[in-house]
Symmetry: C2
């Protein structure tokens, strides 16, 4: 597998236009999802877990009942790459309309 | 449902004898599980999610690849109750032998 290239600040800014709920915090992509309840929150996590494992690119995330907090970075690149942007897009697609991200 | 009773310090100490990987941090039960990889870690989380939803008692937890960090408390009781001890025991049972908790 070819290592993913680090994104420039401009490339990150451009990508964030289509990821309105996401922000960069400490050099990582961050988002807080809120769902109706635990079943919806963990259902979302399960969808994302399958997609993440398939791509071998995994989120750092935490869950408290109906909330899922996500941080994305590419450890091999020590920064953000297209793998993070793509995973963020997949997560937004897997989330249900009522969440802020 | 009858609200669960807060545990005394002595009751918590007694319970921790059979939960060797767990400790009390800031008044909450805490444990760090480590698995072989993401599939094992998320498989564990999925088992626990079903058990937690069934009991309507959910963990606060975070996951980074093969690690799962868990915090348990009973919000309604503003402290630890037998619901936390029982969920900790279920989690230890759901985890695979190689984890520290």
């Amino acid at each position: 597998m070819i290592p993913a290239k680090n994104l420039s600040e401009r490339e990150i800014e451009d990508a964030l236009v289509s990821l309105p709920g996401w922000s960069v915090q400490g050099g990582k992509l961050h988002c807080e999802y809120k769902f109706a309840d635990f079943v919806e929150a963990f259902g979302f996590m399960t969808q994302v877990a399958l997609l993440a494992e398939k791509r071998n690119h995994h989120p750092e995330w935490s869950n408290v009942y109906n909330r899922v907090s996500v941080t994305l970075t590419t450890h091999d690149a020590n920064g953000l790459t297209m793998n993070d942007i793509e995973l963020a897009r997949l997560m937004d697609r897997a989330s249900i309309g009522e969440t802020p991200c």
